[in-house]
């Protein structure tokens, strides 16, 4: 017998009783997803009359019939906020879908092709990251004719640089890893190496990047709308609601900005939670806890 096995036998075992970290995380993730999907769907199927104009109900404080109160046109703030958040999530979805595909293509191309391609893509990434993000968003949104499409387009095409960098670094790292080189010498084909070594390594990073892109996109949509370059005033949007609320906050209408701001914050934080927990679950170092 040699020393190692003696140590192995004496190593502490993880307790199996109760809820382990993994299960707890899955519960967190599910809860966060359910909340966000519920908001999204509620916004999509909502009857617009719910947040219609009722001048007789102007500036009602929060109550059971109007949990978030009403605004200067008597619109119910609860339903309006839900609809606005749902719009934001839609923009976030579009942004993540487009940006992540751009990032994936650029990142993989830079890492695999190397040389000039790599230099050009890295330069583009640096260019986009060097510019204040909000300025770029404003310009693109304005160019694309503002409104829902403008803001969605602007947010969608400006969120790829960070993820591109991440994907590039990961692919480069795993491509040159000893175990991948060893697999080449063991006669494994390129597709097999890509499938068994590279994709399983890059995919989690990519997925987490994708999820963490969401809160960014949502916040940027809200900022654009807040500044008046996003959704038009007739479309419920958290940014628009907040900028309207600015006019009334000095007269003590606190509920107009508190609740919409809160649900935006909660949504953003939930996406962050999902991203962080996913990171822990997918990382082999902490995956067994």
């Amino acid at each position: 017998m040699h020393n190692d096995s003696i140590f192995a036998a004496g190593s502490p075992r993880l307790k199996s009783s109760g809820i382990n970290t993994r299960k707890k995380m899955i519960i967190y993730i599910t809860a966060a997803c359910v909340y966000l999907i519920a908001v999204l769907i509620a916004g999509l199927v909502m009857n617009p009359d719910l947040y219609g104009v009722h001048y007789e109900n102007k500036f009602l404080t929060p109550s059971f019939s109007h949990p978030f109160g009403t605004d200067f046109m008597g619109r119910d703030m609860f339903w309006r906020s839900i609809k606005g958040l749902s719009n934001s999530i839609l923009v976030g979805l579009a942004a993540s879908a487009v940006s992540s595909v751009i990032a994936l293509i650029f990142g993989v191309a830079a890492a695999v092709a190397g040389g000039k391609t790599d230099k050009i893509i890295t330069w583009l990434v640096d260019c986009c990251m060097g510019m204040p993000h909000i300025v770029l968003l404003l310009l693109i949104s304005y160019m694309m004719g503002r409104g829902g499409f403008g803001v969605a387009f602007a947010v969608a095409v400006t969120h790829w640089p960070e993820l591109t960098r991440l994907v590039r670094a990961e692919v480069l790292q795993v491509k040159n890893a000893q175990y991948v080189q060893a697999a080449v010498k063991m006669g494994k084909s390129k597709t097999r190496i890509a499938k068994e070594h590279i994709i399983p390594h890059v995919l989690p990073v990519y997925l987490i990047g994708l999820v963490l892109l969401f809160p960014h996109a949502i916040m940027h949509e809200a900022s654009l709308t807040f500044l008046g370059f996003g959704f038009s005033a007739s479309t419920p949007a958290i940014g628009g609601i907040l900028s309207e609320a600015m006019k009334h906050i000095v007269t003590g209408k606190w509920w107009l900005c508190l609740f919409p701001g809160l649900i935006l914050l909660v949504a953003v934080m939930l996406f962050d939670v999902i991203g962080d927990k996913l990171k822990m679950l997918l990382n082999p170092g902490s995956g067994n806890q």
């Binding site: 040699h2 020393n3 190692d4 096995s5 192995a8 890893a177 000893q178 175990y179 080189q181 060893a182 697999a183 010498k185 063991m186 006669g187 494994k188 070594h197 399983p200 390594h201 082999p284 170092g285 995956g287 067994n288």
Partner: protein, 212 residues
């Protein structure tokens, strides 16, 4: 079988200094060659060239008179110095072990690989334990030459002895030629029947070959 380093020189680019200059030696299947030399003399670089990981700047590596195959299982396999970098951290150990062939239970027992380790992640094993997997996975029937780049440095003395005993047994049984890179002269004299010293590069004289 014969593995021949034919006048090998290597440097990283046109401006960098030579790492290896005009290295010549031959390994026969029955040979167990020790490659010794101080740090920075290009031992690891030479191992990588011999096993096809790096292309020599000049000269060639010949296996039975032909260049090393680019595709398929390379008959010259190398075991790395750092086992924790040589296994995929996202694979459980049994997948890593069976990547190119299925070692039988006898081999696993004699390597001291315990059954329970197969279900673990690499992060849950020590360097020495991982190194056994790295050695076992390249001892397949298609391996004709084995390049061992400081493979036992991280093992305790007893395990070192066990592993070398086994590597020697298997290499004899299957007629595998060994190239052993080491700093440990005692080990080199014990394990190998020939010693090749890498010369200092500024001298640039042809490879000395000393038989023990």
């Amino acid at each position: 079988m014969q593995l021949k380093a034919d006048n090998i020189s290597f440097r990283y680019n046109d401006k960098s200094p030579w790492v290896l200059r005009n290295v010549n030696f031959t390994v026969e299947s029955a040979d167990r060659i020790a490659l010794v030399g101080p740090s920075g003399y290009g031992k690891s670089t030479l191992s990588k060239i011999l096993s096809g990981y790096l292309k020599p700047t000049e000269g060639k590596v010949l296996l039975n008179g032909e260049l090393l195959p680019e595709k398929g299982y390379c008959p010259v396999q190398m075991v790395y110095q750092h086992p924790e970098q040589a296994v995929n951290p996202r694979w459980k150990m049994d997948k890593t072990l069976n990547e190119c062939w299925k070692p039988d239970q006898n081999l696993l027992d004699s390597m001291g690989i315990e059954k329970e380790w197969l279900k673990r992640w690499p992060s849950e094993l020590s360097g020495g334990e991982l190194q056994r997997f790295c050695i076992a996975r390249v001892l397949g029937p298609d391996t004709k030459f084995l390049i061992c780049d400081e493979i036992s440095t991280m093992l305790d003395v007893i395990t070192q002895a066990q592993i070398w005993q086994l590597v020697l047994e298997i290499s004899e049984e299957r007629n595998i030629g060994l190239v052993v890179v080491t700093h440990n002269m005692a080990l080199a004299e014990k394990v190998c029947n020939k010693i090749v010293r890498l010369p200092e590069i500024s001298v640039q004289k042809p490879e000395e070959r000393i038989s023990v």
